[in-house]
């Protein structure tokens, strides 16, 4: 099966190891992975901030860059939400662009959904956890496009460590994080408290943006928490990545 990887700008820039993990896991399960190098950003930050002309221009690019691939897979739940839910509406004024956006929306899947729904992989059966782990749901995806069943998979892999408030937002929110930084970091503090209450040392998510926020907050506070994408956990479990290879692995 041919798969185009939409790695997203944040994962490309800050978390290349996540991209590596996605590629190796997809190959492990029999996919031919392509990486269209023209890709940049889906336009989500502009869209959320109300700059819809700018977002529409980037989304148009997306439809061209990923034209022709049967499947487009992304490790980011919120970028998948952007493409699947908001993209078509954003280009509604132009029939050809709208059709292209609808087509891209139908072909795009968040990584874990693709594994589960298209490749029919039993994710829980492959997970090997070496330490107490809990999860963070990216809420843009939770509310709008049920991306993953992290809770269920972790529970199947071992006794689940439940955050105090599992659905609580990390406070990132796109430009919100720097537009209203005091509120964003106050929300971050609440989220970190909730995660610490779970008693886990590893926090698993499927969203680079939340991880950037959570990890930055935990590091500032000196908390002994590690953050990984579910693709990294899966790749390590399958022996496709060495354990905790560090940022440059």
């Amino acid at each position: 099966m041919d798969v185009a990887l939409f790695v997203t700008c944040l994962t490309d820039t800050f978390y290349p190891r996540v991209g590596t993990a996605v590629v190796r896991v997809l190959r492990h399960f029999g996919c031919r992975v392509h990486f269209p190098t023209g890709q940049t950003c889906c336009g989500q930050p502009a869209y959320n901030s109300g700059f819809h002309a700018e977002a529409a221009a980037l989304l148009r690019r997306m439809t061209a860059v990923f034209a022709g691939y049967e499947h487009v897979v992304t490790p980011s739940a919120s970028c998948a939400t952007m493409v699947k839910r908001h993209g078509p509406a954003l280009l509604a004024d132009d029939p050809a662009a709208h059709a292209a956006a609808l087509d891209l929306a139908a072909r795009t899947q968040e990584f874990t959904r693709f594994l589960r729904d298209v490749l029919h992989v039993n994710i829980a059966a492959h997970l090997r956890l070496r330490e107490p782990a809990t999860y963070h749901y990216p809420c843009h995806a939770r509310a709008e496009y049920e991306a993953a069943d992290l809770r269920g998979w972790l529970a199947a892999a071992g006794p689940p460590a439940e955050p105090a408030h599992p659905d609580l937002c990390c406070g990132f929110g796109g430009l919100f994080a720097v537009d209203l930084p005091e509120v964003s970091t106050a929300m971050l503090g609440d989220k970190l408290d909730s995660l610490r209450a779970a008693g886990a040392s590893l926090i698993i998510s499927n969203e680079a943006a939340c991880t950037l926020q959570l990890e930055g907050g935990a590091h500032r506070r000196g908390l002994p928490l590690r953050f990984q994408h579910i693709a990294e956990v899966l790749a390590e479990s399958l022996g496709l990545l060495p354990p905790d290879g560090g940022a440059d692995a």
């Binding site: 590596t20 940049t40 336009g43 109300g50 509120v183 106050a186 440059d248």
Partner: protein, 464 residues
């Protein structure tokens, strides 16, 4: 109001530690109570669907239902007044009070009356106005403003309430909630004995029968509509429901969403003034139908927001509200619902409020009538984007320009890595330029030397 005002207000909100602690405690408790109440309610999801349908249906045919309501209410002896705006509503109520020589008004809790600034106008006309909801009573004694649409003093702890009552009523100091309530109750009983005007809002108005429905918890609402000789009900035109049969659907949800109660302690249905033989009730019932921007909202893209039944669940669920408190919004309606309503009702002065959200969707999950508040916030941000300060406007345009050129994007990645200097542990504690907005409260991971696309080109593409 400028952008920096919003940031400054919200930042000040996050620093008010005592308020933030009180609001955290109260909102988490309410969220837990709501979750438990809905979990125990059979067919909760279907009821929520039905409630959303009822409210959407009313809005789609509002002129018809308004006509029916006015005809029914009038036939049962109510006097209905139409107020196109806040000024008209205030004038109608003030004039009818002055003309009848009314002196002492008791009020049940009404956010709509806050919206039109009724108390101040009545006081200027020489009336004494007493808030009889315990929370609103404390707000009034403190010359404060409600910071939550259901729990007006959610920003205060019990010590502050005790101090207020001691100062205002000269009672002895106690922090015991029951004693505090008794003190306020005794004070208000005397007011109720002497009052001649009762003012209430309306939770639902039934078009089929002309009935007004009040949901309260303290019994004060019932006193306000039974004791005084004149009752004025201030009714936002969007609060209609078609039939009495629709009421149970909404009653099952409003208290659960609000406070986690199966039903509020008092649900009062009022159809017309006192009839011959009735033991109590007002001689005159006036219904003031308030538009104040609602028909304009109804005709525009944000119509769904008028489904709101003012339960406050979105405030309790909102992580922004929880961290800044209601006063930081500087609008009558705070929280997620306020961030949509305030710019629509009051225009440009609140155009910055839609930014006060991470769009996490907790409000949508909590809403008993399924209003997609995040979607409204994004739409309002788009409408008001020209009001944003220059830096973000130019910044987003520049960013989008770069993102349309992959070579510039790759260059940008390298520049970012050069800008973010770490302390040897992969994280920057102080970012330069606008990155300082990030590092003010959290560290920033330094982008690794090789981006994913570099890894792909160098190794991954040809792996195995």
């Amino acid at each position: 109001m400028t952008a920096s005002d919003l940031r400054a207000r919200l930042a000040a909100g996050t620093r008010a530690a005592r308020v933030v602690a009180a609001v955290h405690q109260a909102t988490w408790r309410k969220v837990a109570q709501r979750d438990a109440a809905l979990a125990a309610l059979p067919h909760a999801a279907a009821l929520r669907d039905r409630a959303a349908e009822i409210r959407a249906h009313v809005l789609a045919r509002l002129p018809d239902y308004l006509e029916q309501f006015v005809a029914q209410a009038t036939a049962r002896g109510a006097q209905v007044h139409c107020a196109p705006d806040a000024e008209a509503a205030v004038r109608i109520i003030t004039e009818l009070a002055v003309r009848r020589g009314l002196r002492l008004a008791v009020k049940a809790k009404s956010m709509t009356s806050e919206e039109i600034g009724l108390n101040a106008a009545l006081e200027r006309a020489g009336l004494r106005v007493v808030e009889t909801d315990l929370g609103e009573f404390i707000v009034q004694l403190d010359r404060d403003r409600p910071s939550h649409i259901i729990a007006p003093i959610i920003h205060k702890d019990r010590r502050q309430v005790a101090e207020t009552l001691v100062r205002a009523l000269g009672c002895r100091y106690t922090e015991d909630p029951t004693e505090l309530t008794q003190i306020a109750r005794r004070h208000l009983r005397d007011i109720f004995r002497r009052c001649d005007l009762g003012i209430t809002g309306v939770n639902f108005a039934v078009a089929e029968t002309g009935t007004l429905v009040l949901c309260t918890n303290e019994g004060n609402g019932r006193m306000c509509v039974s004791r005084p000789r004149v009752h004025v009900a201030l009714l936002g035109i969007e609060k209609l429901i078609p039939r009495l049969a629709d009421l149970p659907v909404l009653l099952k949800l409003i208290a659960r969403a609000s406070t986690g109660q199966p039903l509020g302690a008092y649900t009062t249905l009022i159809t017309g003034p006192r009839r011959p033989g009735d033991p109590d009730g007002p001689e005159e019932l006036h219904v003031v139908l308030l538009d104040h921007g609602r028909s304009r909202i109804l005709a525009g893209p944000h119509r769904d927001i008028l489904r709101c039944i003012r339960c406050g669940a979105c405030l309790n669920a909102c992580p922004v509200y929880r961290n800044v408190g209601g006063h930081a919004y500087a609008s009558v309606y705070p929280g997620p619902i306020g961030s949509v309503l305030a710019p629509l009702l009051d225009g440009p002065s609140h155009a910055d409020l839609p930014r006060a959200s991470s769009l996490c969707g907790a409000c949508l999950d909590a809403c008993p009538v399924k209003i997609d508040i995040p979607q409204r916030l994004v739409a309002l941000r788009a409408e008001h984007r020209a009001r944003r300060p220059r830096a973000p406007r130019v910044g987003v345009r520049l960013w989008a320009w770069v993102m349309r050129r992959p070579w510039l994007y790759r260059l940008g990645q390298r520049v970012l890595r050069q800008m973010v200097r770490d302390d040897g542990d992969g994280f920057a504690r102080r970012g330069p330029g606008w990155l300082a907005l990030w590092t003010a409260g959290r560290d920033l991971r330094r982008p690794p030397a090789r981006s994913f696309r570099a890894l792909w080109n160098e190794e991954l593409r040809d792996e195995r």
